[in-house]
């Protein structure tokens, strides 16, 4: 029962924040709502006994990615002041389509007979996960690291000021 309570609570938080993202017109508020979603999803991971994943979600997603996003919002904040509302037609079409999609998906999901839940969750130990990561999934792991390197270089390259701009003097 605790699991149920916790799930519904968290689901409310996650869904509520996601919906907040949908209805928010202010981009910073959207970021705040995203924080709610990310945090809620992290706790859902905890609920699914995926502790490590929950923590990584908090560190990387909420603590890193989100801050990068908020940073981006603020760097472009003068434009953010101008409310860019979607056209009514777009909003309406989007609503209809998304509701349709959701209805379809939910119907499908509910209709499908999933296997009964495993009675006892396997202990997703961090050590076990680490071993898997460095044995079975070593290649993707390494590829991701290479990708991150590329991203680091790429982001630095993209974000560097063009040659014309003056750099602050080195002290």
């Amino acid at each position: 029962m605790y699991e149920a309570i916790a799930f519904y609570l968290l689901a409310a938080v996650v869904a509520g924040s996601a919906f907040g993202c949908v209805i928010a017109t202010n981009i910073v508020r959207m970021a705040l709502c995203l924080l709610g979603t990310l945090g809620g999803v992290a706790l859902l991971y905890f609920l699914m006994a995926a502790n490590f994943l929950g923590v990584v979600q908090l560190i990387v997603y909420a603590g890193g990615t989100l801050i990068v996003i908020v940073f981006g919002v603020m760097l472009t904040s003068r434009a953010a002041g101008v409310r860019l509302r979607p056209k009514r037609s777009e909003a309406l079409a989007g609503t209809l389509i998304c509701i349709g999609l959701l209805a379809g998906l939910v119907t499908l999901l509910v209709r499908t007979a999933w296997p009964a839940a495993q009675s006892e969750a396997q202990a997703y130990d961090v050590a076990w996960l680490g071993n898997e990561l460095l044995s079975t999934y070593l290649v993707p792991f390494e590829m991701v690291s290479v990708l991150l390197l590329a991203v680091m270089i790429g982001a630095a390259f993209l974000a560097q000021p063009s040659g014309k701009d003056k750099e602050p003097e080195e002290r």
């Binding site: 149920a4 993202c21 006994a49 490590f52 760097l75 472009t76 101008v82």
Partner: protein, 103 residues
Amino acid sequence: MLAIGLTHYLVLAAFLFCCGLYVMATKRNAVGILIGAELVLNAAGINLVAFSRYETGLADGQIAALFIIVLAAAEAAIAIAIFVNYYRLLGTIDPDAGDRLRG
């Protein structure tokens, strides 16, 4: 309803997914679209972990979700860098304004 199963998570993820899609499709701020993408990725993450928890019992779901998180971070970094440049060039971050294909 009290026994939480796979369906619950999947439905939640579906909702999240649709919200993300809506955000991506309607927000006229590039960062907003990025936020929508994050929602969609989170939905995928929930699905992966839920399947790994309730169906396979293997690490694959979690590992995939882990990679999603990491890749989302990379994606956001690059995207924000692009947006900042975009903003510098065009003075707006309305993605619709970027249909000229030239700097």
